[in-house]
């Protein structure tokens, strides 16, 4: 909440390029939260000169599951399959880690876990989604070229060519892929490519109330993700040892996060 707010304040103070006023209608005294990616809407999209990044701020995630709900609604994701999900990590005083994600966090986390015998040191939530690897194992293994990295850096699935062999599902170290039980082809998070192309934020970013999910263009030096990624803060990627070079970064993810 604060991040978005302070961001908006900066916009209002003029710290961030004034051109943004053209994108976000600022009516009266009301405070607008950024809902669009500047520089896309109404312009020709140059697919060869784009770079985007996604940052998940683990310290700000409250496990409300809004992102999961939005994601399911945006794509009508069939039950039991998840394009994105939120995990709950519970750390006991013995340093044991208990992880769960009932329904992928779709119903939120209404209650604390009751099956843990020891006293709990603390809890944190970790949202998961496609890592948009620059060296994507799923793309490498697809036998028919149905999964590919687009020139603007998105790992997408061509649902008209996918044969449904599920090799990409085996190859993905992050298990973000699933075989759609209706269409019988592989499906995954696209960071809402269709929204981005229209200048909108991914649905999960759009609905996140705390700013735990951040998305933006790395070609835009005024974007929040640009500033975080180029800044001094520590960011990590998941399963770095897999050599996948994700474009999804985690801020404040502890070493227990896999």
């Amino acid at each position: 909440m604060m991040d978005r707010r302070s961001f908006v304040k900066k916009v209002l103070n003029g710290t961030i390029a004034g051109s943004l006023f053209l994108v976000w209608p600022m009516g009266g005294n009301s405070i607008e939260t950024p809902e669009e990616i500047p520089g896309i809407k109404g312009k020709e999209y140059d697919i060869h000169h784009q770079e985007f990044a996604f940052i998940v701020d683990v310290t700000r995630c409250i496990g409300c599951g809004s992102c999961c709900v939005a994601d399911k609604r945006e794509y009508n994701v069939p039950d039991g399959n998840y394009r994105t999900w939120v995990e709950r990590y519970v750390k006991g005083f013995s340093d044991k880690i208990y992880v769960d994600s009932p329904h992928g966090g779709l119903d939120g986390y209404q209650h604390a876990r009751t099956d843990i015998d020891e006293e709990i040191r603390d809890t944190f939530f970790v949202p998961k989604l496609c890592n948009m690897c620059k060296e994507a194992p799923c793309v490498q293994v697809c036998p028919v070229g149905a999964t590919f990295i687009s020139p603007d850096g998105f790992v997408l699935v061509d649902e008209k060519r996918c044969v449904g062999c599920a090799y990409c599902i085996q190859a993905c170290p992050y298990s973000v892929r699933f075989l759609n039980p209706v269409t019988k082809v592989a499906e995954k998070c696209t960071w809402c490519y269709h929204r981005i192309r229209k200048g909108l934020l991914p649905a999960c970013v759009e609905v996140c109330p705390t700013g735990a999910r951040k998305f933006g263009s790395m070609k835009d030096e005024t974007s929040e993700v640009y500033k975080i990624l180029k800044g001094p803060g520590v960011l990590t990627v998941l399963k770095k040892e897999m050599g996948t070079f994700p474009a999804l970064y985690y801020k404040g993810a502890r070493r227990e996060v896999i």
Binding site: H103, P143, A166
Partner: protein, 396 residues
């Protein structure tokens, strides 16, 4: 050791990623490498006779080629049953992705099919020319096509046939190795899966393929000959068992080396592999694959190799050992394919697999798929005689 990363702490929650609950590669993908393995092993027997002149294998050489063909003919069937969109299977040939190991399948399969068919045509040419003369109607037309409409059985033509067979079998060996080694690589190349991602995987698959194929030939030869009330060539069985022993020692050694290297290297997510073999796979791996189906046959094969045994007992034991080894390879495929997928990529838990009966990848479908090659084999026996006539003279 750092508590947060010790195996116990990792596994305490048995957390499975929500998309990992379902095992995507199920029994059809167990069956597929099993079938190509049978093809490979049978082909090795034929190659030993036709290329390496192991004369004692003569009684089974032709049969093993037909056996290979029957199973090769249905090798794509489990894959089609497995695909989510089987009607798009030609995409594999149309737009094979240059980066994918799986993309080569269509081409490798087509080439191996062609090679096996032509080897059989040349091996059987003399018989086919004779059969052509005695057959009528459609069957005669078939025989004419299969003999390239030539009845030339002159000395020169026979010599040419022998050369062609040696050439085809010669290129057939690398093709067979590629066909099956590639299947192993499909698994070995998945870095996200700690039990699969080892360069040993193609090697293990190749050796166990030879084991299953040779066992199948021994068992089928003994059963069919017994059923038809014909004699069993003891020398042939002996050579087969010796070859089988060699390949099985290799296969078992590499299988154990894989487990050993996981537990010795302790790299990456080895705790998941350990937990898998000692947890969900404890009985199917250690008890069935290793103790019952590997150690016992190894011991029996040792006895058969060292001591002189009565012919009949030897043949009977050969059949039993072959049957156990056929089971061993099937269990090994199961443990690799299904077992590997039980580990969630969360590195914190294991999912479960319950085979269904009437699913398109269910138990019934498995039984049907495995029955088809035997029907094909029966049909082939009507066109190509399994056994060479000089076996007949051995009848006592």
């Amino acid at each position: 050791m750092d508590a947060a990363h010790s195996s116990a702490a990792m596994l305490v929650s048995n957390y499975v990623f929500p998309n990992d609950l379902h095992v995507h590669w199920s029994m059809m993908i167990v069956l597929y490498p099993y079938i190509t393995g049978l093809v490979d092993g049978a082909f090795i027997i034929a190659a030993l006779y036709y290329l390496f002149d192991v004369k004692s294998l003569r009684p089974v050489a032709r049969f093993s080629l037909l056996f290979a063909l029957a199973f090769l003919a249905i090798a794509t069937l489990p894959l089609l049953l497995h695909l989510g969109r089987p009607e798009r299977n030609f995409n594999m040939l149309l737009t094979p992705s240059p980066s994918s190991a799986m993309a080569g399948f269509g081409y490798i399969y087509a080439v191996s099919m062609g090679v096996v068919v032509f080897i059989i045509l040349f091996v059987y040419r003399e018989d086919l020319v004779e059969l052509r003369a005695t057959s009528k109607g459609w069957l005669q037309l078939l025989y004419r096509a299969m003999t390239f409409d030539s009845i030339d059985l002159s000395e020169n033509a026979r010599k040419l046939d022998q050369k062609i067979i040696r050439f085809l079998v010669g290129i057939g060996i690398p093709i067979a190795v590629v066909l099956h080694g590639y299947v192993g690589f499909i698994f070995g190349g998945v870095k996200a899966n700690p039990t699969w991602s080892t360069p040993l995987m193609p090697v293990i698959f190749l050796f166990s393929a030879c084991v299953s194929g040779i066992s199948a030939i021994i068992l089928a030869y003994i059963i069919i000959r017994k059923a038809k009330g014909r004699s069993i060539d003891h020398d042939c069985i002996k050579t087969c068992i010796k070859t089988l022993t060699l390949f099985f020692i290799m296969a078992f050694t590499f299988e154990m080396l894989e487990v050993f290297s996981h537990s010795y290297l302790k790299s990456g997510y080895h705790h998941m592999v350990e937990g898998l073999l000692n947890g969900p796979l404890a009985s199917s791996f250690w008890l069935w694959q290793v103790k019952i189906c590997s150690v016992i046959p190894l011991f029996v094969l040792g006895v058969m190799g060292i001591f002189t045994i009565n012919k009949h007992i030897y043949n009977f034991t050969a059949a039993v050992v072959s049957a156990i080894l056929l089971l061993q390879v099937l269990i090994m495929r199961w443990n690799v394919v299904i077992g590997g997928q039980l580990m969630s990529k969360s590195a914190r838990g294991y999912t479960e697999f319950h085979p269904e009966w009437f699913d398109k990848e269910g138990i019934l479908a498995v039984i049907i798929v495995m029955a088809i090659p035997f029907i094909i084999l029966f049909v082939l026996s009507k066109i190509f005689p399994f056994w060479t006539p000089d076996n007949e003279t051995n009848v006592k």
